[in-house]
């Protein structure tokens, strides 16, 4: 438990850091506000509309695929540590798991989800 308590301390120090840094630089930096400075940047022309619009669905696809594969790696972790103890049983279990996953991998590849146009 003591290990996690010291992690908590480091988190506190780390959270304090950006607050300290930003406030210190606030004391030093100038502030000359003007409307043009606070306008949204768009290559020098007047901003036309909001930025929060529709964007490519591919980003969602990547996110979904990432979820599946990252959960896979998390499931691999306990097997990786206990590999020798689990022996043949572990290998077969893992083989089944990976087979299902690689089946899906082949499917998304054939559907073209991995190709970015």
């Amino acid at each position: 438990m003591r290990g996690y308590a010291s992690i908590l301390l480091l988190i506190l120090v780390a959270v304090a850091l950006p607050i300290i840094i930003l406030n210190l630089s606030r004391l030093l930096r100038p502030s000359w506000p003007s409307a043009a400075k606070y306008a949204t940047y768009e290559c020098g022309i007047v901003t036309t509309n909001e930025a929060r619009e529709k964007f490519s669905v591919r980003y969602y696809l990547v996110a979904v695929m990432f979820l599946v594969f990252d959960v896979e790696t998390v499931f691999l972790m306990p097997w990786a540590i206990q590999m020798k103890e689990l022996a043949v049983f572990g290998f077969i279990e893992l083989g089944l798991f990976l087979f299902l996953l690689l089946f899906g991998y082949g499917y998304i590849w054939s559907k073209g989800a991995l190709t970015w146009e």
């Binding site: 003591r2 290990g3 996690y4 308590a5 010291s6 992690i7 301390l9 480091l10 988190i11 120090v13 780390a14 959270v15 850091l17 950006p18 607050i19 840094i21 930003l22 210190l24 630089s25 606030r26 030093l28 930096r29 100038p30 502030s31 409307a35 400075k37 606070y38 306008a39 949204t40 940047y41 768009e42 290559c43 901003t47 909001e50 930025a51 929060r52 964007f55 591919r58 980003y59 990547v62 996110a63 695929m65 990432f66 594969f69 990252d70 896979e72 790696t73 691999l76 972790m77 990786a80 540590i81 206990q82 590999m83 020798k84 990976l98 991998y105 590849w109 991995l114 190709t115 970015w116």
Partner: protein, 388 residues
Amino acid sequence: MPTPTLTQSIVITLIQCLLVVIFVFVVVPLTVFAERKVLGHLQQRLGSTRVASGHVGFSGWMNRTMWKMGRVPVLSYWRGIPGLVGDVLKLILKEDIMPAKADKFVFFLAPSISMVAAIVVFAAISFVPGTFFTFPAWFPYLGGLPVSGGIADINVGLLWILGVATVGVYGIVLAGWSSNSKYPLLGGLRSAAQMVSYEVPLTLSLLAPVVLAASLNFSEMSSRMATGMPAWALVPQVIGFLLYLTCGFAETNRLPFDMPEAENELVAGFHTEYSGMKFGLFYLAEYINMTVVSALASAFFLGGPWLLPFGLQGLLNPYLPGFLSWFGQPHAIFFVAKIVFLLFTYIWVRGTIPRYRYDQIMAVGWKYLIPLALVNLLLAAVIRCFAV
């Protein structure tokens, strides 16, 4: 050895946290400085290797005197320092501009998340197994107490590192979204997609050392990888190392996977609207992440705090004079030296390889690196079954 009381161990942990912060704030500026100089030499950029204050004042006098004596002045190795000083001063003194349309709180939160995530990772990194140093007996309050080489030697160290390092993606996405501007939004989405894509092969390539060492604990893994393996067991790890380094480059958004700063497409990516110290925090976080990636590579693939692999370092012991006896033991200096070498590799690659196209990056990550990482993992599993 005396056991510390609760307050004493809290103070010791605070000292360790302070050491980590100092380490970070020493390594990052030096890396920025080295980057200017190395790139200057690699790409014949004149300014960054020559700018110096070596003409005026005391340093100028010393430079001229040493040239007259026929020696290359020491200060000329430090040419380019004014560039670094200028960088830092500009980051601190620059006016902080927040676009009127931005989401104020998230705009502030994003760089802070990046920074905090980058530093908290260090909790599980141990610079040397066991004791780092012991306070001398005369030291007030803490005399005779040991300071361990890492802040928290937890069982799930690697899991902690990977988990917290991924939180940095939130910083980038939130920065892109909160700016309410088109380039940052696109840049944020792009780099987030790139980072999560390379997260998978990165974790898979790190699983091979986990299999070989049968542990997730940072110091156990690094010591078993450095001393507990026959030489040929590490052969598949050459693939793993290159794989990990590639993914690490993509994960820290460095060239040749430098999507956020694809200047000619996206101005400056997710931090287009940021200025002053808020941008500085992103900058810091990027370099801290580089250091973390290098630290993991050095611990799991290059032998971490051991100078020589396979227990060969112990053979040095009888031949070392007293003041060099630490050469026979694992030492934080060797660990840091390997980190520095890998940071140099970062700069070297940046100076050598041009940027990929975005579709190429995504294709390489999903189509080649993931299968390769699985094959590497299988190789490691076979070796662990039959040999180690």
